[in-house]
Every structure is written in structure tokens, then in C-alpha cells.
């Protein structure tokens, strides 16, 4: 008897995850090994012979910390370059999280580099380390290397969350660009005083390769490729519609948009070329899968930036970078799907559901809003759920002061629990999307069930 439904090819999420996890682990190993390689190459090029006296050991350690610090900074650039392979392996979010976590260690290594060398030279000449600053500045290229260190301090300090809140995003971003200058300023002394590019050494090959990869991938994936893509797809704003008070959908027209290869749940970085908005780019998820001629995002007026883009006129030219992110079907690890989304966080879920391949009965969705007005795109989501055979719960009401804290008060009083809504949670990939404070509570509740961390996919939506 012929089947009435076209069967979906069975996807073994476990196997695809194992493959991805291998790539992710390899990436982590490469990252750390590159730091070790920086030190090892120095040791191999005569550095190992230097561990003779306390002063020489200090000096050698100083050189090693400088090399590892530089290596980490270049690795940070690689992680921030939005290389597609890295995005597919660990996702842009985690790449940036690793990038961020390397920032302080890299700075400490560079500071230790300076301090250890001053101490080492100080020990060897019998003067105090401070007195060594003068002679050191007299070496070629050292003054700008000191300036580079200063810039690096500025970049890391402004990137620390506390300061970042006092800064505008734009200001922070501008300071962040100084890191390129800091790296550029540090380079000459590495060549002249450090001699890392000495002819015919493995060190030379290694550092040239690393600099090329770092700056090359930044150039290619952050500038050249987005520029070409933007020019090719000729995206313009085709309409702005109000979804709810303060929430707008921006519709785009363009050429051949399907070939962007976006998955539902991924985001693009959008830049609107009007006089008031061109200098600020916005990372925003698709709220529907692109057709070949149109795409859509949905934004809430949270910051000044997003308020401005909801007022852009029709016809505005738009440039894009992306698609980025692993909050998509590609991150699946388990046979079932559990989705919990709140507020504006439903938008990537909307596109995710449209794009993801799952069998009827495989997915369960819980949509969450504080008030009726915040039920953005819920009708669309319910339509998709019905069409693809997913169970869709909704939960409206302010957060409960008792219980896990992320559900509505009335549902908590009713006795609703995570386990009640998602009986198969242990065998599910859990996709969470919503405001940070709320999402932290959900994630805590989910983690309490002791499901493996790799089954949890969270996207925090703060702007």
C-alpha cells in the first residue's frame, strides 16, 4: 500500500553531533596547542639553551609569555573572524565567548612579558627593573610596542562587562577596533628585537602562517565576503509593518536570497545605509525563512539603535554579514525537540520551526509571554506547528514569585512543571530563546533535570 505521507529521511542526530563534537574538540585542541607551539618554537630555536641562570630564566620566560600572549591574541582574531567552519563547529556565540575568555589571559601574558623581561634584564645588570625601562625603550621599535600594550589594556578594560554597560555599544566597538592597531604596533618589535621571523626557521613559517590566518580570515570573512554577498544580493527594505506596539517586522527584497544558505534560527548582521544608521550594525535573527526574493526580521524597540532601524524608509539599501549562529537544526544531538521561547525570542524560533526537519510528534513547543500583547508571531508558529505535527503550548501571564520562576503564576498554581510539559526532556534537544534574566531561570530548571549540557541550546535576546 503506497504511503500517504512522504517520509522524511531519518536523520541520526547522534551521529551528526558526534562528528560536530569531534570538530569542536579539535578546534579547542588546536587553540591550546598553538599557544604551546609558540613556546616550543622559541625553545627549539635556541630558547631551551637559555635556562641557565635566574636572570636568563626570567628573560626566557618573559619571551615565552610574550609569544603565547601574541599567539592568543591572534587566536582571538581568528575566533572573531566569523570563519564559517568555526561557526558550524561551535557556533558564533561560543566562538565569541571563547574569544572573550581569552582576552584577560592574553593581556596578563603580555603584561607578564614586559614585567619578566624588565626583571630579567634588571637582575642581569644589577639595577632595578624600573631602571631597565629606559634602555629598553632605546631598543628599536620598543616605544610603539609600549603604546601597543597600552592600547591592549584599553581594549580589555572597556570590554569588561561592567565598563561595557557604561559605554555605548558603538563606543565599545570603536575602542575594540584599536586591538588591530595594538597588534600592528607590537609586530615591529617582534621582528626586530624578538627576531621571530628569522630566516629559515620553523618559527618564521609558523608566525607568518598565524598572522596570515588571523588577518586574512578577518579580511575575507568580515569584509570581502560580506561585501561581495551584499553586492550580489542587492537587498533593500521593502516594507515595515507593526506586529504589536513597539515591535516591527522589517521586510527585505533582494536577489537570489535562498542562496545565502541561511538556516532557521540563524542571524545576520544588518547595516542600513541611511545617514543616521549606516555606522551601526545590528545582529538580528531571521523571523522567517527567506524566499528567493524576500526576507524578514522582527525587532523590538529596546535600544536606540533598534528604534532607529524600525523607522528606516522603504527602499533603504541594506548590507549583510552572515548567516551566523548554531541556534539551528545543525545543532541537533538528540531524537526529540523541546522548544521554550519568550517575548521577542520567539522570532528565531519561528524561522527555526519553518526550516527544521522533524517528524510529527517529535517536537514540543512552549510559547511564553507576560501579556496578550507580547504574543508576537504566535499565530504563524501555531500554523507551522499544526502543519508539521508539533505540539504547541502557550503560557501567558507575569512571572511567578514561587516555583522555578520562569512560568506564569497561574500555571505554577495549576501544578505545571517542566516535566509535565516535556515528558521526553531527557531524550530531547532543548532550544531556549528569550530575555537573559528569564532564560537563566529556565536553563537552571532544565539543568536540574541533569540532561547533558550539549542537549541545551540557549539564545539570549537582550536587544
Amino acid at each position: 500500500m503506497p504511503q500517504r505521507f512522504s517520509t522524511l529521511p531519518r536523520v541520526n542526530h547522534k551521529r551528526t553531533y558526534a562528528r560536530r563534537a569531534r570538530r569542536a574538540d579539535l578546534l579547542v585542541m588546536l587553540l591550546w596547542t598553538s599557544g604551546a607551539a609558540a613556546a616550543a618554537l622559541f625553545l627549539a630555536s635556541g630558547g631551551a639553551a637559555q635556562f641557565t641562570t635566574p636572570a636568563a630564566i626570567m628573560t626566557s620566560l618573559g619571551i615565552i609569555t610574550g609569544l603565547i600572549g601574541t599567539d592568543f591574541i591572534l587566536v582571538m582574531l581568528v575566533l572573531a573572524a566569523r570563519i564559517p567552519a568555526i561557526d558550524r563547529a561551535i557556533g558564533h556565540d561560543r566562538a565569541i565567548a571563547v574569544h572573550r575568555s581569552l582576552g584577560k589571559p592574553a593581556l596578563y601574558l603580555i603584561l607578564a612579558h614586559g614585567a619578566l623581561l624588565l626583571i630579567g634584564y634588571g637582575m642581569s645588570t644589577g639595577f632595578n627593573p624600573i631602571a631597565e625601562i629606559g634602555p629598553m625603550l632605546a631598543l628599536p621599535d620598543m616605544p610603539i610596542a609600549f603604546v601597543g600594550t597600552g592600547l591592549l589594556i584599553a581594549v580589555v578594560v572597556t570590554s569588561l562587562v561592567a565598563v561595557r554597560r557604561k559605554f555605548s555599544y558603538e563606543g565599545w566597538h570603536l575602542v575594540h577596533l584599536l586591538s588591530y592597531i595594538a597588534v600592528a604596533f607590537a609586530l615591529p618589535h617582534q621582528l626586530s628585537v624578538g627576531g621571530i621571523l628569522a630566516d629559515g626557521t620553523v618559527q618564521r613559517a609558523y608566525w607568518i602562517a598565524l598572522y596570515l590566518i588571523a588577518f586574512g580570515s578577518i579580511a575575507i570573512f568580515r569584509f570581502i565576503e560580506p561585501t561581495i554577498s551584499s553586492l550580489r544580493h542587492r537587498i533593500t527594505v521593502s516594507g515595515v509593518t507593526t506586529v504589536a506596539p513597539g515591535v516591527t517586522s522589517i521586510h527585505f527584497a533582494g536577489k537570489n536570497l535562498r542562496s545565502l544558505g541561511a538556516s532557521g534560527g540563524q542571524f545576520f548582521i544588518w547595516r542600513f545605509w541611511t545617514k543616521r544608521t549606516w555606522w551601526h550594525s545590528h545582529p538580528i535573527s531571521l523571523s522567517a525563512m527567506p524566499t528567493s526574493t524576500s526576507a524578514r526580521i522582527t525587532v523590538r524597540d529596546l535600544g536606540r539603535g533598534s528604534a532607529r532601524i524600525s523607522a528606516v524608509p522603504v527602499g533603504t539599501k541594506v548590507s549583510i554579514e552572515g548567516p551566523y549562529g548554531l541556534f539551528s537544526d545543525a545543532a541537533r544531538t538528540a531524537p526529540k525537540l523541546a522548544i521554550i521561547a519568550a517575548g521577542i525570542g520567539v522570532t528565531p524560533i519561528r524561522a527555526f520551526l519553518e526550516h527544521a526537519r522533524f517528524a510529527p510528534g517529535e517536537a514540543t513547543i512552549l510559547l511564553r509571554a507576560s501579556t496578550e500583547e507580547e504574543t508576537y508571531h504566535w499565530d504563524e508558529i501555531r500554523d507551522i506547528a499544526a502543519a508539521k505535527g508539533a505540539l504547541c503550548y502557550v503560557m501567558i501571564g507575569h512571572r511567578s514569585p514561587v516555583g522555578a520562576g520562569w512560568m506564569s503564576e497561574s500555571d505554577v498554581r495549576r501544578g505545571v512543571t517542566l516535566a509535565a510539559a516535556f515528558p521526553d526532556l531527557a531524550r530531547s534537544d532543548v532550544y531556549l530563546c528569550g530575555p537573559t534574566a528569564w532564560l537563566d531561570l529556565v536553563e537552571k530548571d532544565v539543568r536540574a533535570t541533569r540532561i547533558p549540557a550539549h542537549q541545551i541550546h540557549a539564545e539570549r535576546f537582550d536587544w
Binding site: 630555536s45 635556541g46 630558547g47 639553551a49 637559555q50 641557565t52 641562570t53 635566574p54 636572570a55 636568563a56 628573560t59 626566557s60 619571551i63 630579567g120 634584564y121 637582575m123 642581569s124 645588570t125 644589577g126 634602555p135 632605546a138 631598543l139 628599536p140 618589535h189 617582534q190 621582528l191 626586530s192 628585537v193 624578538g194 627576531g195 621571530i196 621571523l197 628569522a198 630566516d199 629559515g200 626557521t201 618564521r204
Partner: protein, 240 residues
């Protein structure tokens, strides 16, 4: 590119090809300076010199340098000595040359194709030829002549009583030196340095003896300002 830094109470000028840095060799000087300087009261040599430590239990590096200096004392008939006339151990005469030698070995080991190391007027080069001036002992701001250094004559050491005669003791006597400045070009810097010191200490006889027994080129300036040079040194003169 030229790199200049202070070490061992003097100044090192190192010329390296573009892309090479002095960071590798700076610790060589720093380490030797730390161990051997007598003007630093806590150096190993200072502690041996004033009896706080014993040479027999000292570091391998210290004893290797001492043994080398003693070998040279035998070879030069006592004109070069690891001891000052007052008996204090002073390896200054050999450790600077050893430091230059080690820095050179290190640069060669890392494949640096061409370089010159000048520490306080003692010079070791690789590649070349490197035109090298010899200072006029009567006028430190003028050159007396220039010679070409390069393989195999890679080292030029100059000893004198003009500027800093304090580490040359005249064979135990306090007689005035016959020569005010002696430059020795040799295939290695330790030989050049030791023999220049020995000729200053031993005068004309030592000059003849040493040029006879060693494969070196010598250029000497005596107290009256008269010059003497071996044929090899004449051939190495720039423009000769």
C-alpha cells in the same frame, strides 16, 4: 639592523639582518655578566674572589672558564692569567670573549646568515667581509686604520693601556707597557682576546713569540706611536 644595549659594564652593538632580533643573545650576555662580574658583590665570581665561596665547589660554567683561562696561562707563559697580581681571581679577561663566542654560536645555530657582534671594542663577525676600524689610541674619536673581517678571520680583539688598562697586569710587574694598543685578528674571539692581552703584557718579545706560534694577525701601537703589523694584517687593510 643595529641593536645596541648595555652589558658587562660596557656596550654591545650587534648587527643582524632584517627580521632577526637580539632577544636570543641578550640573555647570553646577561647570564655571563651575572655570574662573572666583579663589580656586582653577589655574583658567583665575587663570592669566590672574596672567599665566601670556593672555586672547587663552584658551577660547571665557572670551572670551565677557569680551566680555559689556566690553559691560556700555560700557553702564554703566564702573560695571560686568571689572577690579578694581588692574587684575586679575575676572569674578566676571558669571559667577555666567551660571551661573544657563545652568542655567535647561538646565532649560527639558529641559522643567522650574517652578523657582527661588537662588545666594548671586541668584534666577532660572520659572513661579510665587514670593514672594521681600529681606533687611534691617542685620539679615541679617530680611526687609525680599517681592516676587512670575514671568514676565516672572524675575530678582532684589541687590548690597550690607553683607556681601560685595569684588567691587564703586566706579567706580575708594574713596568710600563711597551705597547699602548694591540689588535689581534684571529679565527676565534677568545684566542684574539687572550693574545692581545698577552702581547700588551709581554711587549715585543711576546709579540714575536705569539705571531710565531699562533695563526693570528697583529697590529700594535707602541708608546712612541710607532706601528707594527704582520703581513696578514697589512693584506687585510681596507684598500690594500
Amino acid at each position: 639592523m643595529r641593536h645596541v644595549f648595555e652589558t658587562m659594564g660596557t656596550v654591545a652593538s650587534i648587527e643582524l639582518p632584517t627580521g632577526w632580533g637580539p632577544a636570543l643573545v641578550m640573555p647570553v650576555f646577561a647570564a655571563i655578566d651575572e655570574r662573572f662580574s666583579l663589580y656586582r658583590p653577589d655574583s658567583e665570581l665575587s663570592r669566590i674572589a672574596d672567599g665566601r665561596a670556593s672555586l672547587t665547589t663552584s658551577s660547571d660554567t665557572m670551572r670551565a672558564s677557569y680551566a680555559r683561562a689556566v690553559d691560556w696561562r700555560a700557553l702564554t707563559g703566564g702573560l695571560f692569567s686568571p689572577h690579578r697580581p694581588d692574587g684575586v681571581l679575575d676572569l674578566n679577561g676571558i669571559v667577555k670573549a666567551e660571551a661573544i663566542e657563545q652568542a655567535g654560536v647561538l646565532l649560527d645555530a639558529t641559522g643567522c646568515p650574517t652578523w657582527s657582534i661588537n662588545v666594548g671594542g671586541d668584534i666577532l663577525v660572520s659572513g661579510g667581509p665587514w670593514p672594521t676600524g681600529v681606533v687611534d689610541p691617542s685620539d679615541p674619536t679617530a680611526l687609525l686604520c680599517s681592516v676587512l673581517l670575514g671568514d676565516p678571520r672572524r675575530a678582532l680583539a684589541t687590548s690597550g693601556s690607553a683607556q681601560r688598562g685595569d684588567h691587564i697586569w703586566l706579567g706580575g710587574s708594574r713596568a710600563l707597557a711597551e705597547f699602548v694598543q694591540v689588535s689581534v685578528a684571529a679565527n676565534d674571539i677568545v684566542t684574539a682576546d687572550v693574545l692581545a692581552t698577552a702581547i700588551i703584557a709581554g711587549g715585543r718579545d711576546a709579540l714575536d713569540d705569539i705571531t710565531d706560534r699562533w695563526d693570528v694577525d697583529v697590529f700594535a701601537v707602541d708608546r712612541s706611536g710607532a706601528l707594527a703589523a704582520t703581513p696578514g694584517f697589512r693584506r687585510a687593510l681596507v684598500g690594500a
